[in-house]
């Protein structure tokens, strides 16, 4: 076997006194006084703890594979159980009729769908422009000394429990106004969205090749025009991805809405100065009900929500893939 190897690592104990030097020496080449090939064979034939290392390697591989399978299985089980329990209550009637009075399960979720659309739409209108501007500031204008703490703060904000955001908005908007409102819900969701939009936009802007900006600067194009006409269009797909993921993330957000936007009137409401229904709050309230029909309705609403979020994620990823291709990543 050693014939095939051109060189081995071997030690020259006498070369530099006490210090041991590792270097590559061709097999069969003898330098003065050293029996190089002998040392080399010894190293090659000594298998040491190789067996044990192979075993550890195998164990880590198996354990991590199981973990990955588990993660996929969790999603499949969740989706599967939601579909199996909710699909029975799903109908055109369910989607197009507003919820009935408390305890009346003959209605549907049209008011919740419209309410979620209004609240999440308003939240997106607030969070996406601000999030993009924050990302533009940190990646295009701020020095690293400033950008780093801003990124850190965004990560912290992303980690704030949404119930805390809800209490904050409750104290800030609901208490002074004396009532819940769609606006309060939208502001709470916007706070949840902001760090997601900003962080993904930062990552995407960082992917835009510096050579493109260089090309623009070298043409005498001003910084802000380069940003608007070169950097942002190049990154557009990725920026859209971040926005869609943020929307998908808050569409199912429940905790802040229960606090600031959960006591609403009958029928399909669209005026955000009043409290509006929403799909997550409908799921929560129906699941709290003692009636089994209400539970089935909760499952059906969950199915609608999860389908919306999954579709949004898939679309977002498709945009991202296209954008990465464009940026040569």
């Amino acid at each position: 076997m050693s014939r095939q190897l051109r060189s081995v690592l071997c030690e020259h104990p006498n070369r530099h006194g006490d210090s041991r030097v590792l270097e590559s020496v061709p097999i069969g080449v003898r330098t003065q006084g050293d029996s190089v090939s002998g040392t080399g064979h010894a190293l090659l034939l000594d298998r040491g703890n190789l067996k044990r290392r192979n075993r550890v390697n195998r164990v880590v591989e198996v354990v991590s594979t199981i973990a990955a399978l588990l993660a996929v299985a969790v999603l499949l089980i969740v989706v599967g159980s939601v579909v199996s329990k909710g699909v029975g209550a799903l109908s055109i009637h369910f989607l197009t009729t507003p919820a009935g009075l408390f305890g009346d399960t003959s209605g549907g979720i049209s008011n919740a769908i419209v309410g979620t659309a209004v609240i999440v739409g308003l939240a997106a209108l607030m969070a996406i422009p601000v999030g993009l501007l924050v990302a533009i500031f940190t990646s295009e204008f701020a020095s690293e000394r400033v950008a780093h703490p801003v990124r850190f703060v965004l990560d912290l904000l992303n980690g704030v429990p949404t119930i805390v955001t809800g209490i904050f908005i409750y104290g800030l908007i609901v208490v002074p106004q004396g009532r819940q409102s769609g606006y309060a819900g939208a502001v709470a969701l916007a706070i949840v969205m902001l760090p997601i939009v900003a962080r993904t936009a930062q990552e995407v802007l960082a992917l835009v090749p510096g050579t493109l900006k260089e090309a623009a600067y070298a043409l005498g194009i001003a910084r802000w025009r380069t940003l608007l006409r070169v950097t942002l269009p190049t990154a557009a797909g990725g920026l859209l991805t971040g926005a869609l993921l943020a929307v998908a993330r808050v569409a199912g957000e429940t905790a802040p809405l229960i606090l600031v936007c959960s006591i609403f009137g009958q029928g399909v409401l669209t005026e955000p100065s009043e409290a509006l229904s929403s799909i997550p709050v409908f799921i929560f309230q129906s699941s709290e009900s003692p009636s089994p029909e209400a539970h089935t309705q909760a499952w059906a609403a969950a199915l609608i929500l999860i389908a919306f979020v999954l579709v949004l994620n898939v679309v977002a990823r498709a945009f991202y893939a296209r954008s990465r291709k464009r940026m040569g990543a």
Binding site: S143, P209, T211, L212, E214, A215, A216, Y217, A218, L219, G220, I221, A222, R225, T226, R229, V230, P233, T234, A236, R326, M327, G328
Partner: protein, 296 residues
């Protein structure tokens, strides 16, 4: 800067009555007689002469360009050769002030374009870059723009009127030898062209804003030999309308395209002279060693 632009454009198409001797000749490269006399007479331009005076450039504490004084003369192609990391790219990036785009980078000394210091506080960096264009190592067309939009990007994004865009875009594509290949797909994405076409697209884009100087930073290093040949032929035509400075790793390329060759080593200017002399009988031993492939 604008007034010089307006006086310059006719000189590109009509023969200039002024004799070439009027052009300022400061550097050692040009004072060596023989080479210019043996060449066929060309139209001479009296704009686009660049002079570096004691130029130093740094990246943080790294002294990348050390006290270089050098002239790039109009209607000549100057090639800059030297081993990797010798400061050739950094030096040319100082000419259009792209060097300062890198954080922690700074430069000192003077870069004169027709006697005007480009580092003067009164001069806007955007104006510098319109007068001194640049082509980069890797073709970098804007991926979201069509062929024609790429070419006119510099014009559109610096506020040219819509009417002149098309004409000047076509002119630039003709000038870059790309018109015949792309005239039927001007609206197609610029990134869809071949590598060599993309690079000529980038040259056209740089030419469209009618610079006086065109810096080319290893423009062929990402291209195959055929595409390289096309660009080299193009460089020969370009020197009639713009001062060309080309950084190259490829000594044969320098020998093929350049009138004047500059050899740099460790940030210092070692020797500058007519290309024939630099490759056959250089004055400096280090130049001789480099051009004969003894190091680098």
């Amino acid at each position: 800067m604008d007034s010089r632009h307006s006086t310059q454009s006719p000189a590109m198409t009509e023969p200039n009555p002024e004799p070439q001797a009027q052009a300022p000749q400061r550097g050692p490269a040009i004072s060596i007689a023989g080479s210019s006399a043996s060449r066929p007479l060309r139209k001479s331009r009296d704009v686009g002469n660049v002079a570096l005076k004691d130029l130093n450039a740094y990246y943080g504490s790294n002294h990348a360009v050390r006290g270089v004084s050098l002239d790039f003369d109009a209607d000549r192609v100057t090639a800059i050769i030297g081993p990797s990391g010798c400061g050739k790219s950094t030096m040319v990036r100082c000419v259009n002030r792209m060097h300062e785009e890198i954080s922690s980078a700074r430069a000192s000394g003077q870069v004169l374009l027709d006697g005007l210091d480009l580092y003067d506080a009164a001069i806007d960096v955007v104006a510098v870059r319109r007068a001194v264009g640049m082509v980069f190592q890797k073709p970098n067309p804007f991926p979201t723009m069509s062929v024609i939009d790429n070419v006119t990007a510099g014009l559109r994004l610096t506020g040219a009127s819509r009417g002149e865009l098309e004409d000047r875009g076509r002119e630039a594509l003709v000038g870059a030898g790309l018109w015949d290949e792309v005239k039927d797909r001007l609206k197609a994405p610029g990134a869809g062209l071949s590598g060599g076409q993309q690079q000529r697209l980038c040259i056209a884009r740089a030419l469209a804003v009618e610079p006086e100087v065109l810096l080319m930073d290893e423009p062929c290093s990402a291209l195959d030999p055929v595409a390289t040949l096309k660009i080299e032929e193009l460089i020969g035509e370009l020197k009639q309308r713009v001062t060309v400075v080309i950084v190259t790793h490829n000594m044969q390329q320098a020998a093929r395209v350049a009138d004047t060759t500059v050899f740099m080593l460790s940030g210092e200017l070692v020797e500058v002279g007519p290309t024939d002399k630099m490759f056959t009988n250089p004055d400096d031993d280090r130049t001789e060693q480099y051009v004969t492939g003894k190091f680098g």
